[in-house]
């Protein structure tokens, strides 16, 4: 069973994926931060029981697990694959996860809220992701009465989620735009439109791989559709601007661009050691090269899959023993040597 990011039929554009997340709480219990261990377990078993036939809704197979039954490495790998966030990883009380094999639909139970529904699809498909999340939401709601207020909407643990409880996110690859001098100012400006943009991978203030996530900042006073439309619009705009810059550079410096892309490919194909930063930079080059038609991969392969593949927890998982920093760089290079498809 291929995961959503492994499916080969994806078109190679700048918009990598779309995500919609709904935060909900069951009216019968206080919010997760106030639940005792015992109450958390009780809540989880009731939620688990109520949702055990969730697959009947859409004919999908859901696996369920207590997060505490997974290894630390598995949890970190789930974070790398955008299923869990870092606050969940730090949380100590009992939590569980319901997830399809494709990992496109997941529910985190007793995380920061009782129920968080997430739908993650390749490309720009926010409306579709919202529709799926909405159906699951109704299914859950038919079994569990939600904490809801006429004025404040869905009641959530954090004031930043109240109202719709929805966060819509589009992940966009902006390698050329992000090189521009005005880019940081532009990111700051986005707040005025009600969206927030942040780098996905990187350390400190440095971004690796030029991937950015655009999300709605506010959740109250606008409908789900208005919010997803907003994120959609900004994603398309950034995508268009990125393409304009790239077209220009292709016209003026085609040889340089080709050279960069092929060199990146060559290094990844043969290197024996690759740091995260270098590998992400080369993959970013390859991603835009494929997108602009400068190289063609022999077998269709979303470059984002490789970006996920070289993340630390995933490499650690593939190895049979814990890897040190040097060994990780070697494992990263080995992974790319074996996974990188041929080009023509």
């Amino acid at each position: 069973m291929l995961k959503w990011f492994e499916q080969p039929e994806q078109e190679s554009g700048n918009i990598v994926c779309s995500k919609v997340r709904l935060a909900r709480n069951w009216s019968e219990y206080v919010f997760p931060s106030r639940l005792s261990q015992e109450q958390s377990k009780e809540l989880l078993s009731k939620l688990g029981e109520g949702l055990k036939d969730l697959g009947d809704l859409d004919g999908r197979d859901y696996e369920s697990a207590y997060l505490s039954d997974l290894t630390e490495l598995d949890r970190r790998a789930l974070q790398e694959r955008r299923i869990l966030n870092s606050s969940i990883l730090e949380k100590k009380s009992p939590m569980s996860l319901l997830i399809t094999r494709e990992e496109d639909i997941s529910l985190v139970l007793n995380g920061m809220d009782h129920i968080r529904i997430q739908v993650l699809l390749p490309g720009l498909r926010l409306a579709e992701a919202l529709k799926t999340a909405d159906q699951i939401d109704d299914y859950v709601n038919a079994r569990f009465d939600y904490a809801f207020d006429e004025k404040y909407g869905y009641l959530t643990s954090f004031p930043t989620n109240m109202g719709t409880g929805m966060r819509a996110t589009a992940m966009v690859h902006l390698p050329s735009l992000s090189m521009g001098k005005k880019f940081p100012a532009m990111l700051n400006d986005m707040g005025r439109f009600g969206v927030s943009i942040r780098g996905v991978y990187g350390e400190g203030r440095e971004n690796y791989g030029a991937l950015y996530e655009i999300s709605n900042q506010k959740t109250l006073g606008r409908t789900e559709k208005e919010l997803t439309d907003l994120v959609n619009k900004v994603a398309i705009q950034l995508n268009d601007q990125e393409n304009q810059v790239r077209e220009m550079s292709l016209k003026r410096h085609r040889l340089e661009r080709e050279d960069e892309v092929y060199k990146s490919y060559g290094v990844m194909k043969y290197a024996r050691r690759l740091t995260m930063k270098d590998a992400m930079t080369f993959l970013s080059q390859l991603m835009s090269g494929v997108c602009d038609g400068l190289v063609k991969l022999e077998e269709p392969c979303p470059v984002f899959r490789l970006m996920l593949g070289i993340q630390t927890a995933n490499l650690q998982k593939l190895s049979d023993r814990p890897l040190g920093k040097e060994e990780l760089d070697m494992a990263r290079a080995a992974y790319l040597r074996s996974e990188l498809p041929g080009i023509f």
Binding site: V30, D137, R198, L220
Partner: protein, 190 residues
């Protein structure tokens, strides 16, 4: 300590960010602090949006001292979240916290969210609203009768909200104690 942004000048501004209850401290020089939009800066950190920090900043700053003492007494009767915890963590402990802290947060919510009322989806399925004597639901969650502890708690809760609205903090404290008492005697199925 050097400023973590420019790494050149001495840091003299400390900025505490709370994301989902996790605290992170940052140190910046005055110049960098001026140049930065904190909301955006913190958006590069992982986790939820940092607007919650803004909320606690707003709440923490603007309340006059004598009023603050009154506010400090406010505790959510359902989950026990105190005013101080609420301000520090920017986190509601339960659905009832919204009612308890409502008056304190209204303006800030508007500032934070750009709106103060929900538009959008509503739950398709809802259990009966409070004053009704609905009999049990499918999975045996009973709504209780008029004189049941639950109904009394709701009654005192309404009084509590009203008292807070009128800024009658002593009455509010009485209501809160009543609610606590009722909850306390009813812990078996809480």
């Amino acid at each position: 300590m050097l400023c973590e942004r420019c790494k050149i000048r001495e840091a003299n501004i400390q900025y505490t960010e709370v994301i989902n209850g996790v605290r992170t401290e940052h140190n910046f020089c005055a110049q960098c602090a001026r140049e930065m939009d904190f909301g955006q800066y913190s958006a590069i950190f992982d986790g939820e949006f940092p607007l919650a920090q803004l909320l606690s900043g707003l709440l923490g700053g603007e309340v006059p001292a004598q009023k603050k003492d009154h506010l400090k007494q406010i505790v959510c009767p359902t989950c026990g979240t105190t005013y101080e915890e609420f301000v520090n963590n920017s986190c509601f402990g339960c659905a009832d916290c919204y009612g308890v802290f409502d008056l304190l947060i209204q303006d800030n919510i508007r500032q934070l969210q750009g709106s103060d009322s929900h538009k959008g989806k509503r739950p398709v399925y809802r259990s009966a609203p409070e004053p009704d004597l609905e009999a049990g639901e499918e999975d045996g969650i009973s709504q209780g009768r008029e004189d049941s502890p639950e109904a009394q708690i709701r009654m005192w809760d309404r009084k509590l909200k009203e008292a807070l609205r009128m800024e009658e903090y002593e009455t509010a404290a009485v209501c809160r104690d009543k609610i606590r008492e009722l909850k306390g005697g009813d812990q078996a199925d809480a």
